[in-house]
Every structure is written in C-alpha cells, then in structure tokens.
C-alpha cells in the first residue's frame, strides 16, 4: 500500500527550477533512499514534502489516517499528520537539555493548556509524567539516557544526530524523513547509525525516507532508491539496479568518465 504518492511535482524559485516533474511512490513499512549529486533538489523535495515550500505545480498525497494532500501541508501540522523529520544541518535546541529536546518532540501530544500549567492542576502532573516516561524510554533506546541532562550543544556530533532522531521519534510518527543523517559521521558512527535506523524501522513499524550521500548506508538499508539530478528524477529501483544504472553513474561521475570505463 502506497503511503505517499507524489505526482508531477515541480518547484520553481523565480528562474531556478529546483524540482521538476517528479513522480514518486513510497510503500508502507519500507526504507526509501533519495540520492543524487549536490544541488539536485533533494532537500527542496523534502521541504516540499513537509510543507515548508509550496509546490509550483503537481501533487503530494499522504495516505495516513485518511488522505493528506499538499494543500493541507503546513510545517506545524506535520507531526499531527504523523510525519516527522530531521534536518541537514542538525537543528537541535542547543541550550536545552537532551531530555527537553526530546520532550519537545512530544509536544503535539500534550494539551493540558496554560491554566493547568500555571495552577499546577492534576492534568499537568499526569501528562508531564507520561511525557517524561516516553522521553526516557526513547533516550534509553538511543543510548542517550546517561547524557539526558546535558545541554544539547555539549554533545558530540554523532550524539546530536541521535538526539534529533529521538526527538522526531517522540512525535510518534508513521513516516520519518531523515535529511542526511550520516553527514559528518565517521565510519564507525555511520555503521552504528545504520543499525539503529534498521532497528527503529522494524521496532516501530515505520516508513522511512532518507536523503543520503553515504552509499554504504544507502545500499545496506534501502528497499528502494530514487535518484535526483538537476531537479529531475533520473532513476529508480532497488540498490543493485541503481548501482549499475548508466544514468546514475553519469550524473555522479560525469559523461566522459563513464564512456572511458566502458
């Protein structure tokens, strides 16, 4: 069952054609990879999927608890729809503690309001307790429990990335969008991350879409891969077929090189 349908999606910024005529389908409970050279439009694509940009033309439809179309997409509604994301340049709340960062991810599930907060009514204690339990649970899964009272800015890059993912998980999403999760990580951290993403997907029965440059992670994790270049979708398929795809090689390595290799 396709969880996400993208039809002829196009985004132009004035004269710049960032994304052109993209047709895409993502199946439930799969890990989908989006790859392509820098500037290919991948992050713009994500921003379109999460309502940060409005499409110039084309459609996005999520099939989660009813249909969510691109017209309904607004960044702050995403978690309510069941879609959470991380960012290319880790956007953590640097001065907040790790726990508070994760608790913020849980924000959309809290609703006890201003007066109960201020008057410390029972609903405040009840919901905060639930939220804290959930946060601790996630922190333990991500091996961050012992760092829970540290300010986010003091953590290592790899740990910060994990906090960002944990924060996204706290929103209880059905779809997780990861923008270059392995960026800036060394091979060891990348291996750990790969295992973690696989585990999270199975444990929580998630659908994951990730943008990545690290091919070891992509090839190991992804059930299906889509390749972008200059805003166009130039190839799609499983890891093996993408690796041999001539268009893909041309996009990454340049036309002449491919001809030589032949």
């Amino acid at each position: 069952m396709a969880l996400l349908n993208v039809t002829k999606l196009t985004k132009n910024f004035g004269g710049v054609k960032a994304v052109t005529d993209v047709d895409l389908e993502v199946e439930e409970n799969t890990i989908t990879g989006i790859i392509g050279p820098n500037g290919a439009g991948k992050t713009t694509f994500f921003n379109l999927l999460t309502g940060i940009y409005k499409p110039s033309s084309g459609d996005i439809i999520y099939h989660i608890n009813g249909d969510v179309t691109s017209r309904m997409l607004r960044p702050q509604k995403m978690t309510k729809y069941g879609i959470a994301r991380t960012f290319q340049n880790i956007r953590l709340f640097k001065e907040m503690t790790v726990t508070d960062n994760v608790l913020l991810g849980y924000h959309c599930n809290l609703s006890y309001g201003v007066f109960p907060s201020v008057l410390r009514l029972p609903s405040y204690f009840r919901e905060e307790k639930k939220a804290m339990e959930k946060a601790h649970e996630l922190l333990k899964i991500f091996h961050l429990y012992d760092k829970r009272d540290e300010k986010a800015k003091n953590l290592s890059y790899g740990d910060q990335r994990k906090v960002e993912i944990a924060r996204a998980m706290a929103a209880d999403p059905k779809i997780l969008l990861l923008d270059e999760p392995a960026a800036g990580m060394n091979p060891n951290e990348t291996k750990e991350l790969t295992k973690l993403i696989k585990w999270v997907q199975e444990e929580f029965q998630l659908t994951i879409i990730l943008i990545e440059h690290d091919m070891s992670l992509v090839m190991k994790l992804c059930d299906k891969i889509f390749v972008f270049d200059y805003g166009h979708l130039i190839a799609e398929g499983d890891p093996e077929s993408i690796q041999c795809n001539e268009q893909v090689l041309k996009a990454y390595l340049g036309g002449d090189y491919v001809a030589e290799a032949k």
Partner: protein
Amino acid sequence: MEQIIQQLINGVSLGSIYALIALGYTMVYGIINLINFAHGDVLMIGAYIGFALTGIFGFSFFPALITSMVACGILGMVIEKVAYKPLRGASRISNLITAIAVSLFLQYGMMYFVGPESRTYKEVLPSSQINVMGTGAVIDIKSFYIIGITVMLMIILMYITNRTKIGKSMRALSQDKDAAELMGINVNKTISYTFFIGSALAGAAGVLIGVYYSTLNPLMGATPGLKAFVSAVIGGIGIIPGAVFGGFFLGLIETLVSSIGGSLYKDAVAFLILILVLLIKPTGLMGYKEQEKV
C-alpha cells in the same frame, strides 16, 4: 495653489534633512548590522559646533558647515573605535544597548557642559522671503539652500560609493563581510570611513537644522534621529537609495499631515507608517525579499 507649492517645498526641505541623516543610519546598518542610536546625537553635536563657529568665532556659513562636518566625521570614527569595535562579535542586544549608552553619554554629557537651555543660532544664511516664480507662494530662501546643499552632498556621496575604491569596499563589505576580507579589503579602515561619512552627513544636517529652525538644545537630536531612522527603514535599511527615498517620503507626509491640522499627531503618523511598512514589506519599500535556507 500657493499653499500646495509652499507645503511641497517645506516637505522637500524637511525630507532632504531626514534623508541626510537617514543615509548615515543606513550605511552603518548595511555594513555592521547595527542600529546606531547615537547618530541623532552626532547631529546635535554638529549643530553645536556650527553654533560655536558662527556665533563665537565668526565663521560664515559654508566654512562652518564644512568644519562641522569634518569634526563630526572624526567624532563618528572615534565613537566606532571606542564603543562599537569592542562589541563587534557580541549579540544584537549588547550592541543595541551600547549604542543607546553612547547616545545618552553624548546627550547628557553635552547638557552637563552647556546647560539644558535652548540657544539661538546666529543668522548666517540670507533669510529673505521670495516669490516662487510668480505663483504667489512665499518661501524662505533658506529652504532652497537646504535642498541645494543636501542634494549636492548626496551627489558627492553617490560619487564616492560608486566611483571610488573606498566606496567599492563599503559596498563589498555590506554584501559579505568574510568574502570582502578574503579579497584583501581592510575591514577596519572601511568601517571607519563609513562612520566618517555617515557622521559628517549628520553633522551637516545638524548645522542645517540649527540654521533653519534657529534653536538648539542638547536633546535636539533625539526626535530627528528617530524620524530619520524610521525613514531609513521605510526605504529599506541598508540600502542607500532607500534612505534618500524614505527621507523625502516621510518629510512630505509629515508636512502634509501638519498642513491639514494634525501637527500634534505628526510624530505618531511617522511611526504608524513605519509599522505599516514593516508589516507589509519589512525589507522596505525599495528592499528585496530575503529567504532563509532551510
């Protein structure tokens, strides 16, 4: 009909003064992202210098104007070096408060030395009423002097920013500080020159205000300063043509409001326009839209 011409010329001369002051604000903001609250008080010091030169030392108008401009230019450079440079990396709020501190220092320091009373400028500009081309409108010739001088100064400024090396450095710096530095532009020197030019213009405005309105007091810079700042924002802060446009725009509107009997509220009108502009097009009527990369 005569009313309209009179108000028009009044508006343009007021506007040209605002434009002159606004240029200083906008150049400084464009280059170091600082709202220089002390700018209006440099104007005040310029007015006092002019007052002293003409009243005590018997200078005539133009020498007094030039000397005051140079003196204010130097004052601006000193303020930058002493107060703003140490805080260049600091937070926006710290810079803001520092600028306010400098403003207070100038205002009340001046008040301590010369006392809070208002003084009167010596008449150094011819002050005859002339008939405008036989239309029956009666304008003080001073207005034309003001318009003429400010326009001349603006032309000189345009020449400097577009044709000289220092002007190019200023433009480069306001676009991208790091790139400018890598290209070998002396950042400190460029910033100093920017302050010199902006403050010199403020000094000129101070003398012109003193000559036109005849009175001066230590707190005289606050209101014109704030209004000129509003002009700069209306036109688009950081954009030089924007400051000129904003200045004339505000001058004309203010004169218009005064002429239809709303002189008590004319200051409020300025802020109202400011807020409208900020709500509709925050980067100013001549500014371009900024988009944050996600």
